[in-house]
């Protein structure tokens, strides 16, 4: 199980390769990668991600432990960046490994739903017209209800 919170870029492809190669008895690996999107009408200068050092790591480890136990995962990984990012950069990724694809998919979705609304990260979009904190989407809060 791995949790990494960092400013440095990461290579999602290399992470998948490493994560997969250590799985000896899991036939299914699912990854999610979140990428900074450009703003449709107002080009993004950069995105700034703030987090709560200490609580972030604890929250992510707890979310991973819960997922591993609930879906009997062989392994789980969460990487999340903070600091300044530009459009096209990878923000974060999760990876899950399991015997069966259903568990790997569900656990990855669960991790993402919790990460979105329960891990202490906040995004601010800096564009030509000014800067705005990204508001929580009500769908993201609702998404938690299914777990």
């Amino acid at each position: 199980m791995g949790v990494r919170v960092q400013t440095d870029p990461f290579n999602a492809g290399a992470e998948l390769k490493t994560f997969s190669s250590v799985q000896t008895n899991a036939g299914a690996v699912v990854t999610f990668t979140g990428i900074v999107r450009d703003l449709p009408d107002n080009p993004l200068a950069f995105m700034e991600i703030e987090h709560y050092p200490g609580m972030t790591e604890k929250a992510l480890e707890k979310i991973c432990d819960t997922a591993i136990e609930r879906w009997k995962l062989a392994d789980a990984l969460v990487i999340h960046r903070y600091g300044k990012l530009t459009a096209g950069e990878d923000i974060m990724m999760v990876a899950t490994a399991s015997k069966h694809r259903k568990d790997a998919f569900e656990a990855a979705e669960f991790l993402m739903d919790y990460l979105k609304s329960r891990a202490p990260f906040w995004k601010k979009e800096h564009a030509k017209d000014g800067a705005d904190w990204v508001a929580q989407r009500s769908e993201d809060e609702d998404a938690l209800n299914r777990w």
Partner: protein, 82 residues
């Protein structure tokens, strides 16, 4: 003494990332009332509790959580990770 942390627009409205506060507040809600009475920038930050979240010793709690024995309280908007 409680270490109080502010993140995102809560930090911006209050104008600082953290401070040490001497308080007799028994709950988070009482601490918020105390701070809001102190200065307008606090009142502005704590105006709408619906749009605020709070963590006590790095665990999410609700506003009625006790402050007994607590070392760290953090206020912030709903999280937007991922």
């Amino acid at each position: 003494m409680i270490n109080v942390l502010y993140f995102a627009w809560v930090r911006e409205r209050i104008g600082l990332p953290r401070e040490e506060i001497e308080t007799n507040a028994q709950t988070v809600r009482e601490l918020i009332a105390e701070l809001s009475a102190r200065e307008e920038r606090y009142a502005a930050a704590f105006e709408d509790l619906e749009s605020l979240r709070v963590a006590v010793d790095q665990e999410l709690v609700d506003f009625d959580a006790s402050l007994s024995g607590v070392r760290e309280v953090a206020f912030f908007p709903p999280m937007t990770g991922g």
